[in-house]
Symmetry: C3
Subunit: 404 residues, 3 copies
């Protein structure tokens, strides 16, 4: 008996149980529910799957390696250097072709500096003095060029002077930044950008230099948004103007330009449909252009020794444009998990739609009391409820008798 | 007939079908189900939406461009260099203001090295020898300073010596690292950090230098966690102490400090509520501080030519602190897809709750057999089942008769 | 009366309402539904949770700081430099141990260049001329070495010559790249890579240098995929050969190698189970190996002053291998939100399965009309529908009579 009961239980597990539905022949709610269904299906197919590619697993952490190479020479004629030729080995810092590179467009040169004593620049507030006590020996001049020696140097007894300092003398403070960039021809220089990317999750890698491009094309082409969108060679002046600025203005005091390379790859469409997209922006400008945040310069020195084995140096304060190549991208590929998560959540929303339509049917319709009674079947088994049930039956039988 | 059938089918598609429910007047399970519903709604609203902002699409791949500028000068007094002044052009490597920069805090200088023959350092295990055969000519000294010339140099016949090498002589091996950092005033130097970020998906970009800040503020402020949280100028000593270490200790043998800039932007709240948050950590310490992994140094050389056109060089082995600016962040913005996915999955969990309460009702309650019969309506149409149905009906009629 | 009505409404809110099911004793559909349920549960547990770790929140934006240090010396013997010893301070560019570093393996040296006039190289197409008019004074030679002086230098009257330029003379164009890499011993040099990573969301950080490793191990070990997978010291020749190329071939004209460090951390398994995994790839090769995109070289110059205070320089065109350390990774940790999203969407799919089985039951089975009638209860309350209901009852009673 127990065994047959178990067997029955096992067999009944394979009975299909299906939810019982009540057909409410209410066209208003019916149409409403169909509209809700249509909206959810439309959202799911149109927006989630077609527009947002919800059937794809996406990878946003891109690996990127960038190499750059500049071409162009420029001639400058200054008092100190004389006629001087600048090649990429001089005006690109660092010279080895990094993803962040700086192009010298303007400079102030201070030749033949040697360690010694001289007056601090008048531009440094902390270096001003009225007497020797204002210049305590050994103290550093804040934002200045050296260490105070203890003397205050001034023209006459009553004037304000500057502290004497120990440092690289003479200072470069008296020189004025040329209004016209000294290396103005940098505007026409070109940069060749080689970008190798990889999406580690999909083990997909690609380069911005197309395989099909022949040597001659790569030697002569110049990037253009519409004509040559896949040529990896850019004119510096174009880069700045595409970012919405004037190269000549920017070259005077320097600045920073971002070259954004975007890889938006649909890997379901294959290797050849994954292309870089370039855009350009200025990185050092705040919306309210203030002088502290814009501009770009730094100092570097070349050291020499003279016949007496003394060290002297040439100090360059260089102004220029820093190019920062920022690579980002995402790749998508069909994956079952996001697909099913999206379908599942869409189906769950159908349930929410049914719940909403139920509310309308059961509380807002004219015959809602009737629908409520039909939808919710009572399961009380005490006397009174049974009696009610029978009364219901009785009335049904009454109707039956009337109808027959 | 077929046409009217089709029309009927079409019309019936707009009949609203609603699930039939059985009301089990069981307060225990009813309360349980309401609790389950409350828990799910609470989790959905409280945790998913309010705490985790599940209604937002998030972007974690941040684009970042960093520029740095150091200020400060330091004086050193060593036997070889004499009194020497170090400016940013000397102690910052590389000088052009990268996101990774190295500050020299200590150094060992080996002046006037020329290519020639000398004895390998005793510190290099591979350079030890007892006889000339231990120094095969042309072989490189592993982890050493040059190429073996074939001779073993030793004080007397029985002692152990070192191989003669061809290299830059004299070697710097005999010099001892100063216990007190030579450029100890670097502790008070300041670094100005300019960070431009961009969230490509939302086309949102911002800088850590606030627009509202006036020039004077930026020239004089100093970052402080509570007083000046948005000032982009940092004292080097503070950076190290905030990372939990002593600048003076770290300056002797060098180290590496990470400056973490975190951008956690809720773009629904607008542009002005997206601020950087700075934190600091040491990057070269393992939990068990061992001497191999901590410390930071490297060599660089300055090349000169003497009157006889011979090349000589000054070798600097520099110790110092490497600062690595690591930018990360995420941005969130309202998006319908994650919102609906979260709502959908919450609704689906409601179904799971109902399933659980059903189990309680149908198998754990006293009157569970009655509820089972009410919930599951049989749909067998073979003879025996029909008979059972009629018997059920009969008993119902019996009840009816009793009740009437 | 109203109060008691409210109270009744309130109490009825705690009545448990459960869906009414119809048991269709159809084993075919029953088995089908169980199979669908099994498939969904299998997919959820086996694929989503066990394989894809769907119960985890994942973080893919890794913060990484890399330091490198090279060891090894190499001897070269060239006409200009003579016997020259190269240490890391010379052959690593930049020398400070960045995540992208370049190793010189071959070079062309042009000594004693001074600014002056000489003939442009014949290799530069833009420098060719037939008469002085082809060389307008002041114009830059495209992809050349200087500025045209206005003269065309040619051997005799009818031949083609090259323009005279003002630049750093003599040019290096006549030198040929050595077929055998001059610094061939770089193959045996080692690089020590220190990588510190951090997952900001989980505040988890780790280094690739293991804590347990003692000093001696780190001084002597060499990375090997199977023997020493956690040793952070790599032989350069191995790096290239693991990337599938020959170091000697690559060393001639240069190239670029990516060292990929992958951190795949299951943070539920604890700190010790998070290890780096190294892999190696070539970054500058397109599938069709063309000469423009592969190879890596750049120029740098060392500046000197002679006794007459004239500047001269040594120009190095260096060829070598650029190593780019690319770190990526993801961390996963248990989180309730993705867990519940996955469970929820799985449950919603169950609903889809039930819908599919309903279709089979209601439209494809033999007795589908019967099942349809059972599943869908009509809720019309107009006369005709009631009559139909009663007729159904009548037929049932008929059956009852037959059966009794």
């Amino acid at each position: 008996m127990a065994a047959s009961g178990c067997r029955g239980l096992f067999l009944s597990a394979f009975d299909y149980k299906t939810e019982k539905y009540v057909i409410a022949e209410n066209k208003k709610v019916g149409v409403l529910y169909r509209l809700v269904q249509l909206a959810i299906i439309g959202y799911l197919i149109g927006w989630v799957f077609l527009t947002k590619k919800g059937y794809q697993e996406t990878e946003e952490s891109i690996q990127s390696s960038v190499m750059t190479k500049l071409k162009g020479v420029s001639l400058t004629n200054t008092t100190n250097l004389g006629i001087h030729l600048w090649g990429p080995e001089d005006y690109v810092i660092p010279p080895q072709g990094e993803k962040v590179f700086f192009i010298i467009t303007n400079f102030i040169e201070t030749p033949n500096q040697m360690l010694g004593y001289c007056a601090e620049s008048k531009k440094v507030p902390n270096g001003h003095c009225r007497e020797n006590a204002d210049c305590p020996a050994g103290e550093t001049v804040v934002a200045g060029h050296g260490i105070k020696s203890g003397y205050c140097l001034k023209r006459d007894r009553n004037s304000t002077g500057t502290c004497e300092i120990y440092g690289w003398c003479p200072l470069n403070a008296c020189f004025v930044l040329p209004r016209e960039p000294l290396l103005r021809s940098t505007e026409n220089f070109t940069v060749y950008i080689k970008n190798f990317i990889r999406f580690p999750r999909f083990e997909f890698s690609k380069s911005n230099v197309l395989d099909t491009a022949d040597d001659r094309y790569l030697k002569n082409c110049l990037y253009d948004r519409t004509e040559h969108p896949y040529c990896p060679i850019f004119r510096l002046g174009d880069l700045v103007s595409w970012a919405g600025h004037s190269f000549r203005d920017m070259a005077v005091a320097g600045g920073s330009i971002g070259i954004l390379i975007e890889w938006n790859c649909d890997l379901d469409k294959g290797y050849d449909n994954c292309h870089p997209h370039y855009s350009f922006t200025r990185l050092d400008m705040s919306s309210a252009a203030n002088s502290v945040t814009s501009g770009y310069n730094f100092r570097y020195a070349r050291y020499y020794k003279n016949a007496a084995d003394q060290t002297y140096r040439i100090l360059f304060k260089v102004y220029g444009i820093r190019f920062d190549i920022l690579v980002h991208g995402k790749a998508g590929k069909f994956n079952i998990i996001p697909t099913l998560i999206n379908i599942g959540s869409g189906l769950a929303l159908m349930g929410a739609g049914a719940f909403f339509c139920d509310l309308v049917l059961l509380y807002l319709m004219k015959k809602s009391t009737f629908y409520r009674e039909k939808k919710f079947e009572s399961a009380k088994n005490d006397k009174s409820s049974v009696r009610k049930m029978i009364e219901d039956k009785g009335s049904e039988i009454q109707i039956q008798e009337d109808g027959s």
